[in-house]
């Protein structure tokens, strides 16, 4: 390995690194603005200047490839002078408005000018003034503060795949803008706020809300989609002020989607803070005792077969665990379901309902087939990973069904199960590609598992992949893209019901109104015609579920309780409590415990800690936090299936409105109306 000397310290490095990266390896800190690990190298802020032996001038280390035998110095008076000069240039046109700038306290320019800058400016001329730019409802701009690092442009073009940002004009007149100041059409747009090293791009919904040092920071897990992005929740008092990404290379790199970041204002709106009972068609406030009494009365007069429990999309493992115990042991009913749409499920083996290749594994794939899925709106972060793989490895991507703009090119090979049959019968051109491919990926969306053709789509693809040796312990090409944070966990815990003939008996019975009592645990997506059912809704928001409920039991959201979630890869992660639920709301396990007691029975779970221990001990899968427990591949386990000829239609996912928190959020509302406007006027291009 080549060697380099940094500040008289010799270290070895891998070929292909830049001087800046090697200096970091050697422990020498180098200031920078434009350089970012995840973006291409621009080399235009000149803050990372270092001294390299035999070079008469200081050199921008971020753009300089390290070579064998280089002697680099980062702490000499020469370097210090160069940095000070650079900093003076950057500050020449920068308004010193830190007291009214939202970036204050977490500003790279502020921090670095303290360590590497002059204490005063020699620049006495007029500073330049730049007009604010409109970049949509999420990004607030103050372009006078911009130092032209171009991180935002590079992010939009490279990572988000929407080349809408650019630098117009030149020299002193250079300005960063979107084309004619249109709103950025991306679900990743707000990441430019984190990337901006100064206060030029700041968060619009969070403008002038708080100072970073006033906020309490809690590291947690996102539940807006099934990806399980790692986040940091910043709270002021009990109010969630903002959500930021936390770096996790295996899941979300260091990006999060706009919904993850900005649905948090929905945590304050439409909240259920006290129990409600429906009397004479109207919901009226009541006390816990009265509400529970009413439920107990109803439960005692109903047969167990006529009671069903439906689990919603954002429910944590603990709540689902105790919900199941409650149903099985106290109500002696097995009518539990976690699906709110009729999507096919084969839970015989764990690999049948998770994303087996793992999000990180996408980068190794050499061929991709999307079946009835639009990853851009179903799992934005995963889509960014597919784009990254496309950009780096130039893989071929095919799709069955038309998902629209995915930010990378792909080829639609049809939108019918007939195409799938052709591939499987090896009559299609893709079949050969699958044979030659070493690490293919097939992503099956929920839209492809719908209705009567779901079984055929899933089982035939699985059979085909097994036949071609693409499902082994080393590489598993079978991937299910679930959309909800609670789904994989719910299936792991067994919250579903199926029989040989019918894959979704509960939902079918619901359509024919065969249940007398429905217990909805945060389930808002259920679509059925209510007749005489008595509906208990336990959840956090006054949304679709609460509207049809007869009794409402208020409970906290994901930021207000500890809880485990399993993401679509089957990785279990723990979310932590960052604030408190409003009013009389109680944690889900507590509610169910009290209901059991009111029924005169007990589950023997006395504290949340006990519940967590029981959950974790219930299965070996649940004990390794943050890891994917690989289950053994069973290629013999197959199921019979017959061909169903049908069109595969990709369901439209209302990205900004996909769950009750997002629907309650003003910011998401605004984003949605702007997006709809773009679509209806056709100004998108």
């Amino acid at each position: 390995m080549p060697k380099i000397t940094v500040n008289e310290k010799k270290i070895e490095f891998e070929e292909g690194l830049t001087v800046l990266q090697v200096c970091e390896l050697a422990g020498a800190e180098i200031p920078r603005f434009c350089y970012h690990e995840k973006l291409s190298i621009a080399g235009n802020c000149r803050m990372c200047l270092v001294e390299i032996e035999k070079s008469p001038k200081p050199i921008a280390s971020c753009a300089m490839p390290a070579t064998d035998g280089m002697v680099v110095k980062t702490n000499t008076p020469f370097v210090e002078k160069a940095r000070k000069g650079m900093m003076e240039f950057l500050l020449a046109n920068h308004p010193l408005d830190c007291p009214v700038c939202d970036q204050g306290g977490e500003c790279d320019l502020q921090d670095q000018s303290l360590y590497y800058g002059f204490d005063h400016s020699r620049f006495t001329e007029n500073k330049r003034q730049v007009k604010e730019k409109y970049m949509g409802p999420l990004i607030k701009t103050e372009m006078t503060r911009c130092i032209h690092c171009t991180r935002c442009i590079r992010f939009a073009t490279e990572v988000a795949g929407i080349p809408e940002l650019g630098a117009i004009g030149r020299g002193e007149d250079m300005e960063i803008t979107t084309y004619l100041e249109k709103s950025m059409d991306s679900e990743l747009s707000a990441n430019v706020i984190d990337l901006c090293p100064v206060g030029a791009l700041t968060s619009k919904p969070y403008a002038f809300e708080a100072r970073p040092w006033d906020l309490k920071k809690t590291e947690s897990i996102d539940v807006m989609d099934a990806v399980g992005s790692n986040i940091r929740i910043d709270t002021y008092g009990w109010e969630v002020k903002r959500v930021l990404p936390k770096i996790n290379e295996d899941i979300n790199d260091e990006w999060i989607s706009d919904k993850t970041r900005y649905a948090c204002d929905g945590l304050l709106k439409q909240r259920l803070d006290t129990p409600y009972i429906r009397e004479n068609g109207k919901l009226i406030q009541t006390s816990w005792t009265k509400a529970l009494k009413k439920i107990v009365k109803k439960l005692n007069n109903t047969k167990p077969e006529e009671i069903a429990g439906i689990v919603g999309d954002l429910v944590d493992m603990e709540s689902m665990f105790i919900f199941k115990e409650f149903f099985n042991k106290i109500l002696t009913s097995s009518n539990l379901e976690c699906r709110t749409k009729k999507t096919y499920l084969n839970p015989k083996n764990r690999m049948n309902y998770i994303f087996n290749s793992s999000i990180n594994g996408i980068e190794q794939c050499d061929l991709m087939l999307l079946v009835g899925t639009n990853p851009r709106s179903e799992a934005t972060i995963l889509n960014a990973r597919i784009r990254k793989t496309y950009v780096e490895n130039d893989i071929e991507i095919f799709s069955i069904g038309n998902p629209g703009d995915l930010t990378y090119p792909y080829k639609i090979i049809g939108s019918n199960t007939q195409v799938l049959k052709e591939i499987i019968d090896e009559k299609h051109e893709i079949s050969d590609k699958f044979k030659q491919s070493k690490k293919p990926i097939v992503i099956i969306g929920e839209s492809a598992l719908k209705n009567d053709y779901g079984e055929y789509v899933f089982e035939s693809i699985k059979n085909y992949l097994i036949k071609n040796n693409h499902i082994t312990n080393e590489w598993n090409a079978l991937n299910i893209l679930t959309q909800n944070a609670s789904r994989v966990g719910a299936v792991d815990l067994g919250l579903y019901k199926l029989n040989k003939k019918d894959n979704f008996p509960i939902l079918n019975k619901l359509d024919t109104n065969e249940f007398k009592i429905l217990y909805l645990l945060g389930a808002d997506e259920l679509r059925f015609n209510k007749k005489n059912e008595f509906i208990i809704y336990q959840g956090s928001h006054g949304d679709l579920g609460a509207q049809i409920a007869d009794v409402i039991l208020p409970s906290p959201t994901y930021t207000e309780k500890d809880g485990h979630f399993i993401n679509l890869e089957g990785r279990i992660q723990k979310a932590f409590k960052a604030s408190y639920p409003p009013g009389d709301a109680k944690e889900d396990w507590d509610i169910i415990n009290q209901l059991s007691k009111a029924l005169g029975k007990t589950l023997n779970i006395n504290s949340r800690k006990e519940l967590e221990e029981r959950l974790i001990n219930s299965s070996s899968i649940h004990s390794k936090i943050g890891e994917i427990v690989k289950s053994k591949v069973d290629t013999n386990e197959t199921q019979e299936f017959s061909f169903v000829n049908s069109k595969i239609e990709i369901d439209f996912v209302d990205y900004y409105f996909s769950n009750h928190i997002a629907r309650s959020s003003m910011t998401m509302n605004e984003c949605r109306s702007i997006k709809n406007k773009l679509l209806s006027t056709g100004t998108k291009g």
Partner: protein, 202 residues
Amino acid sequence: MSVKKVATNQPEFFQFSDENLNKAKKIINKYPEKKQSSALMPLLFLVQKQNENWIPLVAMKYLAKMLDIPYIQVYEVATFYSMYNLSPVGKYFVQVCTTTPCMISGAGKLVEVCKNKISQNQNELSANKICSWMEVECLGACVNAPMLQINDDYFEDLDKEKTEEIIDMILNDKSPKAGSYKNRKSSEPESGRTTLINLKDA
């Protein structure tokens, strides 16, 4: 350099004429596969020639679609270079050189004429909207100073009267004669050649 302003009054439609479309295709074909976006700069110039010396926004969109590149990329290039005009400059676009050699030979008088005849300020259309003028940096004809450029042609060795004549002509939509106004052949001495006398076309 002046700040570039995009015109507020934009046409709704732009399309290359058949002749220019052929030219454009030839230009695009000069570049290798997948590198067609490099043809952007000559194409922008072609737009400017066709559209009375300026580039409207629709034309930028038109080019972006033609080359399959994002709009912003065209916009960036068009705003970066000073010789692309983003607002109307008239059928006759007058650029007066005011860099040192021209300046000491009397470019100030040329500017005066433009101010009096065309418009008080630079980048402003004349009353009949047929022409506008601006000061520019060296146009590389220092030997024939002072000079000005109208569209593609140079008008050299000028003085106040001759400039007035030229400007009057263009204001009446007539094309003046290009070249030296002291009857010099390109930049040869005024009194005729002193070397290479035997070579006719030297």
